[in-house]
Structures are given as structure tokens and as C-alpha cells.
């Protein structure tokens, strides 16, 4: 297998809790990897570690063969990212914000218009970013991640704050990216229904532990084996049940362990 991102027993321990607990992930080149888990599962922390925003307390990882902090610059040149909430200079317009990123990445001027077009923000490019609506800020954040069409995209709940048509539009855009310019996408969400529509592979995280990693088909097979589907027919609702049951089961085990 040709993996572009791998983590090996990646751990992030804070003073009184473990945010990410020995997570070993394998993300195939050219695929969309859905990172799924309830709020506080450790998805954002894992992504932050992959971007060097926070350092792991255990384990290791590689991004396209590079390691942090030695290869920070070369890794970040290849990665477009969007973490938690959109980040922007409030005193600059959307276009000026993207121009700052373009200059850092050393891209041609046309890259800004390309990114604005991709996220449907072209007509609002000259408006100050602080005057954008939440959805527009979200799109600006995405445009910043897509600028220069990087080979790796790390997107943390990118559809938060978007209206239903915006969610649909961005979802279709993300889905089309690997075929559009051969990129790899790591996308997080707490909704299986959303990930199911985009991802090739899935990782399910709960309380920092990776409960499942595999293709969507493997997850479906698991759902059949676990008895979540009648007549071997898997619907989105069945998968959602399966996901929730995995989380509940893990939570119950944790609770039991805590009582002992």
C-alpha cells in the first residue's frame, strides 16, 4: 500500500487526561480518509499534531515521508489545512488574505482567483474578511487550504457553519478533489452520514482511541456481521447505528474500567 500519512501509536497526554491514545492511522495516497468521532474524541488534536501545531507526547508520524520538526517547512509546503475555525486577518479583504498565503507558498497570482472560484467566493473577494458571514469565513478558510491545489489536504469539520446548500456544494467539491488534481484528503466530522458520502476509508475515534480503521465496505461488512442490517442490506441508518453502538460499547467499557 502507498501510504502518504501514517501514525504509529501517536499519543497526546495532557496533565489529567489523554486526548489521543496510541493511534495508528494509515492514509492511502489519492484517497479521502474520513476521521470520525464524537466531540472531544481527539480528532482535532490528532490533526494539529500532523500539522506541527502541537507536539505528540508519544508515538510518531510521517507526512509524505517527512517528520516534524525537522521537515516542518517541506511538509507544510505540501499540506493545505483548515483546523477548527477559519483563521484570517480581519483588517484585510478575502483576496488580500489569500494573497498573503499565496506569497508564502510562492504561487502565481492566478492561484488566488482559482481558490476563490473553487469555493464560490469570487464576487466577495474584495470585501473585508471581518465583514464576512460565518459561512463566507468558512469558505475563505477552505480557499486558504485549497490555494495552489496542495497534494495533501487536512480539513477539520470544514462544513461547520454552512447552510445545507453550502454543505452540499463543499461536500461535492471535496469529493471531486482527488480526481481533479490527485490529492489526498483527511477530513474529520462527527457525522457518519456526511463522511459516508465522501470518504474511501474511515477511522473511528472515541476518547482518543482508534476503534476502527478500514474502508467503507469493511465497515458495512462489520455492520452486517454485528447484526445491524436486515437481509444484508446496509443503509445509512444502519451504519449510523453501528457507529453509535461502537461508541456506546467503548464508553461502557471505559466506565466499567473506571469503576474498578
Amino acid at each position: 500500500m502507498d501510504y502518504i500519512i501514517t501514525t504509529e501509536r501517536l499519543t497526546k497526554k495532557y496533565k489529567n487526561f489523554i486526548s489521543v491514545n496510541k493511534v495508528s492511522m494509515h492514509i492511502q495516497k489519492g484517497s479521502i480518509y474520513g476521521f470520525l468521532g464524537p466531540n472531544g474524541a481527539g480528532k482535532s488534536t490528532t490533526m494539529k499534531m500532523l500539522l506541527g501545531l502541537t507536539s505528540p507526547t508519544g508515538g510518531r508520524f510521517t507526512v509524505d515521508g517527512g517528520h516534524f520538526p525537522d521537515d516542518r517547512i517541506s511538509i507544510l509546503k505540501k499540506v493545505g489545512s483548515f483546523i477548527e475555525s477559519p483563521s484570517f486577518y480581519a483588517n484585510l479583504t478575502g483576496r488580500e488574505n489569500l494573497d498573503i498565503i499565496r506569497r508564502i507558498l510562492g504561487l502565481p497570482e492566478s492561484a488566488v482567483n482559482d481558490a476563490l472560484d473553487l469555493v464560490g467566493l469570487a464576487e466577495f473577494g474584495n470585501r473585508l474578511a471581518k465583514k464576512y458571514s460565518l459561512g463566507m469565513k468558512q469558505r475563505l478558510g477552505l480557499a486558504g487550504a485549497l490555494l495552489g491545489r496542495p497534494p495533501i489536504l487536512i480539513l477539520d469539520e470544514p462544513t461547520n457553519g454552512l447552510d445545507p446548500s453550502g454543505i452540499h456544494e463543499i461536500r461535492n467539491l471535496i469529493k471531486s478533489l482527488p480526481s481533479l488534481y490527485d490529492c489526498t484528503v483527511l477530513i474529520s466530522s462527527h457525522m457518519l452520514s456526511e463522511i459516508e458520502l465522501m470518504a474511501d476509508d474511515i477511522g473511528i475515534l472515541n476518547h482518543g482511541r482508534l476503534l476502527f480503521e478500514g474502508s467503507l465496505d469493511e465497515l458495512r461488512q462489520n455492520a452486517v456481521q454485528a447484526g445491524f442490517a436486515a437481509d444484508n442490506k446496509i443503509s445509512s441508518a444502519n451504519l449510523e447505528d453501528m457507529f453509535l453502538s461502537m461508541i456506546d460499547k467503548d464508553n461502557a467499557v471505559r466506565k466499567q474500567r473506571a469503576q474498578l
Partner: protein
């Protein structure tokens, strides 16, 4: 150079550049107006004309520069924290210490421009209003350099403080506290107090002579370098969390 251009572009609409230019213009205007209004009183003081020119006007100019430095340093990092733009910078292939260094450099150049504007006013006053033959160009140049060097620890300290505080009111409060405590301590001869960057900046303002104090200049340069070094180290090692 690329990082410097990027930093300059980020300054758009922040008001940092106009602020420090305004400080320079206001300082120059103050010197002119003060000398026009109090010319006779000032020249009758028991001081050499060059000492009058350089020490009697410097107090207010220095206060303007100090507030200019405090506010500009707060603004230069506030735009990074507002909208969490700095988080995006940490995720891009840009050197964070270089970014810090460029902000420091931009503020340094702006402060120097303000000081040059103020001293051009002093030059004009010196040539046209001091008794004939008393104006000394080299003394003015030396004092300009001295006032710039002694202002740098405050600038270095304020950039460091504002780079670590997401809330702009924190560095602003620290700046005001630095000014007030500096004012209270500047008159003291205790050498240990020179670790306080605001005291170093205030020293030429409380002196009655335009003669340079090499010891203070050396301490100022050492403090500037030390605080800059700490800022760069922190920019490199402390990450966004």
C-alpha cells in the same frame, strides 16, 4: 525579504505605520511650538544652548515615542490574534521567528523615522534660533543616535510581551505600568534599575546634559539584544496550543 514584504502587506489598515509617523510629526510640532512660545525662558536657563535644545524638549518627545512604541507593538500582534490569523501562519511554510524579526524590524525602522523627523525639527530650531555659533551638529547626531538606542529596549520588550498575549489589553496595560513605574524610578541612581527597559528609555529625558552616557547605551543595546533573542527563541519553541 519575502517575509518582510508579507509582513508589510499585513500591516494594511492596521494603522501601525501612520501611528508612528504621526508620533514623529507630533514630536516635531511640539518641539517647534514649545521653542517658539518659550524661547526666551529656555535660553535663559543656566545650561549650554545645546543642552537646552536637546534635554528640555526631549521629555515630551520621549513620552510620545514611548506611547507610540507601546500602542504600535500591541497593534502589530493584535492583528495576528484577531481572527486567529497566527494559527494559519503556524500551518504555513513560513518561519515564525523570521515573522517576529520582521515585525521587530518594521517597528524599529518606523521608530527611527519618527526620531529622525523629531530631530530634523531640532536641527531647524538649532540653526535658526540658538545663539550664533552655539549649534553643534555632531552633538545633535550623537544625541539622536543615543535617544534611538535607549528607546530600543522598550520596543524589544513590548514586541516580546505583545507576541505572547492574545488579549491586546494585556500588553497595553503592561506598557502603561512600565511607563508609570519607569517615571517613578528614572531619577534613581541605582544601577540595578536599568534592567527596567522603560527606565533606560527615560534616562536621557531626566538628564540635564546632552552628553551621552556610554554605560547606559551599552546596557540598552545588551537589553535590546537579549529581549530580541528571547522573543525569537519563544517564537521558535512555543507553539500554538
Amino acid at each position: 525579504m519575502k517575509t518582510l514584504i508579507i509582513e508589510l502587506r499585513k500591516e494594511k489598515r492596521t494603522g501601525v505605520i501612520p501611528l508612528l509617523l504621526l508620533v514623529g510629526i507630533l514630536g516635531a510640532a511640539y518641539a517647534f511650538i514649545n521653542f517658539i512660545v518659550r524661547k526666551d525662558t529656555l535660553l535663559n536657563l543656566p545650561l549650554a544652548p545645546m543642552d537646552v535644545l536637546l534635554t528640555q524638549l526631549y521629555g515630551m518627545i520621549m513620552v510620545l515615542n514611548m506611547f507610540g512604541i507601546v500602542v504600535a507593538a500591541c497593534m502589530v500582534y493584535n492583528m495576528e490574534f484577531k481572527g486567529t490569523a497566527i494559527k494559519k501562519m503556524y500551518m504555513l511554510p513560513i518561519s515564525v521567528p523570521k515573522m517576529y524579526l520582521c515585525k521587530f524590524f518594521i517597528l524599529t525602522v518606523l521608530l527611527l523615522t519618527a526620531i529622525v523627523l523629531q530631530n530634523l525639527a531640532l536641527l531647524k530650531i538649532g540653526i535658526s534660533d540658538l545663539p550664533k555659533g552655539t549649534f553643534e551638529m555632531d552633538t545633535l547626531l550623537k544625541f539622536t543616535a543615543y535617544s534611538f538606542i535607549t528607546s530600543m529596549p522598550t520596543l524589544s520588550f513590548m514586541v516580546l510581551v505583545s507576541s505572547r498575549s492574545q488579549n491586546m489589553w494585556m500588553p497595553l496595560g503592561i506598557g502603561v505600568a512600565g511607563f508609570l513605574s519607569g517615571m517613578a524610578l528614572a531619577g534613581s541612581n541605582v544601577s540595578l534599575l536599568l534592567v527596567h527597559p522603560f527606565v533606560v528609555m527615560l534616562k536621557p529625558a531626566v538628564a540635564m546634559s546632552a552628553q551621552l552616557d556610554n554605560g547606559i547605551a551599552i546596557i540598552a543595546m545588551a537589553e535590546t539584544s537579549l529581549l530580541l533573542g528571547i522573543g525569537l527563541w519563544m517564537a521558535k519553541h512555543l507553539r500554538y496550543e
